[in-house]
């Protein structure tokens, strides 16, 4: 399965096992602009899988209303760039309902899925990574998968979590990432990072699309092509780097990251969103506090620049493998 098929599979299972579950958003009935809801309307009927008018604040508010009645509302925002009209509903309402009502109401049944991150030619409004804007919204959970298996397991985990969840799907992976996905019903835990490669010399922390740039960077570091050889000291090529996929941005798995950095003494954080007040800033501050005596180099952040994503400049804006290698070299040789 590729990622969009895995997402579809998760929603199909959710709809099948939970009569109160509904899927809605702009253009979801014909299958969705990224095919994530293909065939669901035919399979489950238009009462359960339906189009909404083009209003993000309406979609979020409607989903909150259904969830207030204990139903499972799986809402889609067509691009995460367009989630901001729903910001008020998400941050002031969904995140705070349980708290403000002393637990008498909650919207745990709400999951908002939305495609995110760069796609090569998305320009300003089809490229954004808004996760950090939601990172301070106590009461919300924010999740980003990296692959089809992760997408299915984490989405089912998000749908069944007793809290409202923003589920950000890296859109470049919809078709490009393909793997064997179990067809049965399984959930992956929220709030837990996954160590993809063990290592002792440096921790490389990321999520979503840059997971793949990080993997490429590790290959470049270990065996640089002739053109890069002179930039990568031979002594660093055998460095053992621990690669961690954070998976959940809120709450994030501090334990896994802290344990890793205490062992490696170095941390490089990679994300596509801009640096200032990005999620990397939060993580960096917390790790600096917890691992102060163990750190052998400053925490490094490889991120998008503090810019909108200018269409023709994308290759120079997103943190690609080269920038990650460069940061690893600097951090390892600090």
């Amino acid at each position: 399965m590729n990622t969009y098929q895995a997402v579809r599979d998760a929603m199909s299972i959710a709809l099948m096992k939970d009569d109160t579950a509904v899927v809605f958003g702009e253009d979801v009935a014909f299958g969705g602009v990224f095919r994530c809801t293909m065939g669901l309307a035919e399979e489950f009927g238009r009462e359960r899988v339906f189009n909404t008018p083009l209003t993000e604040q309406g979609i979020a508010g409607f989903g909150i209303g259904m969830a207030l009645m204990g139903h499972t509302a799986i809402a889609e925002i067509q691009f995460s760039d367009y989630i901001f009209p729903a910001f008020d509903q998400i941050v002031n309402e969904a995140a705070k309902v349980r708290y403000r009502s002393g637990g008498s109401y909650n919207v745990g049944g709400l999951t908002i899925r939305t495609p995110t991150m760069s796609v090569g030619h998305g320009g300003l409004y089809h490229s954004q990574s808004p996760e950090a804007f939601f990172m301070g919204a106590a009461g919300l959970k924010v999740v980003i998968p990296r692959s089809p298996i992760q997408a299915k397991g984490l989405l089912l985990g998000a749908i069944r979590d007793p809290n409202p969840v923003i589920f950000l799907e890296p859109k470049i992976l919809y078709r490009s990432a393909v793997e064997q996905v179990p067809i049965d019903d399984f959930s992956l835990p929220l709030g837990s990072a996954e160590t993809l490669a063990p290592g002792n010399d440096c921790t490389l922390l990321t999520w979503g699309t840059p997971v793949y740039h990080c993997e490429t960077a590790l290959h470049l570091l270990a065996s640089p092509p002739p053109s890069l050889e002179k930039h990568i000291p031979t002594s660093l090529r055998s460095a053992s780097i621990e690669l961690i996929d954070l998976r959940s941005i809120l709450p994030w798995d501090v334990q896994t990251v802290e344990e890793s950095v205490k062992r490696t003494g170095r941390l490089v954080i990679v994300h596509e969103a801009g640096m200032t007040a990005g999620a990397g800033a939060e993580i960096s501050a917390e790790i600096q506090k917890r691992c102060f005596l163990k750190l052998n180099a400053p925490v490094s952040r490889v991120t998008g620049w503090d810019l909108p994503v200018g269409l023709q400049f994308e290759k120079f804006i997103i943190p690609d493998a080269l920038r990650i290698v460069d940061a690893l070299v600097k951090t390892l040789s600090y």
């Binding site: 909404t52 209303g65 002393g102 007793p162």
Partner: protein, 440 residues
Amino acid sequence: MIRSAPSSIVFRAGQVRRISSAAGKDHGRLPHSNSPIVSKLKFFNAVSGDGNTIPTYRVLDGVGKPLEGAELPEIDRALARKVYEHMQLLPTLDTVLYNVQRQGKISFYVSLHGEEATIIGSAAALELDDEVLGQYRETGVLLWRGYGLDNVMAQCFGNEEDTASKGKQMPVHLSSPKYHFHTISSPLATQIPQAAGVAYALRRIPSRRSRSIAACYFGEGAASEGDFHAGLLMASTIPSPALFIARNNGFAISTPSSEQFYGDGIASRGPGYGIHTIRVDGNDVLAVMSAVKEARKRCLEEGRAVLIEAMTYRVGHHSTSDDSFAYRARAEVEDWKKIDNPITRFRLFLESQGWWDAQAEEELKDRLKADVMKAFKRAESLPKPELKELFTDVYGGEEPWNLKEQRAELQGLLRKYGNEWEPWKAEIGRFRNKARDLID
């Protein structure tokens, strides 16, 4: 069970969007409209058909006499007295809580004065388990449903009996699943699209389909928010039995409605969304009851949204943080209270029916005042909730590490400074168990 429900219930193809074959016979047709084609250039700016403003439905005149041709809603002596008593309860509650706020015993209060007929009339016409999503001037709906003064007071004081918010929200921000009253929040109009979702969920619950509606209240100022547009659009397009009740009381804090909109109030917007709409005299409790009853019926029969605009007047200040005489004349308010007082109007009607008299009035006022004072004194005497509640109900399920650690940090600070730092020392004593639950 729900899955087998016919999908045609929701999207009845062609029900609204059917393109008339006659319309385009001579001049062609439009792809997504049954609009007749005309050759005369004519703009329009009215929805009432004849170009006039939308009329206001009224049953009783200013002295409580039925208008000629008006049909009274079904009402007997017992119901009429219950309605009147609840209408009188609101200003009694207002007077006490307004003064209590002025004495610094509660932090904030919004009065309900002037809108008694709209609130109580609509509450009386709804079923007790219709889901209510309010703005913050709808406490009367809860009182009508039997919520009780003690619970209202508990929330306003944020004491240990406050089950509506556990001391977390400002006064009058109530919640009660038992009485089907959804949690009030300060951000305006957010409840409007939520009501569409609540109503849609009601359609999907077999035991409530065709039986329950979502009733959503908001002021005319809130109707300027984007969420008003979103909510009415959602509830009309994704057919949902939501009843939208706009309380047009003439002011959004200091902004008169003339600066809020240029069109014919809120009612004129309903038809634009394909929503059955009526404007009603919000100071005429019988008119409100009739309109809400009929609107509710239509919601259920057609499974779609309905809009009511209740014309009223905000007699009180916007809130205790507002002095409304800074932007409107005191005389205007006094005049309005005299000329068109919803309570007086209904009392005159009751008297004309032989259902009420001066003695009953005096007894009622004494009783209500005593009830409110009793509830106030009780609420005032109770401590705040346990201090540890400040960290509860952020998440369902396992508590995240950051909250656990931050609670422990506050605990440490309280142990260290709790008896020394004056701003905390005095405050700790006001919580249940003197905050021992958190400190120990």
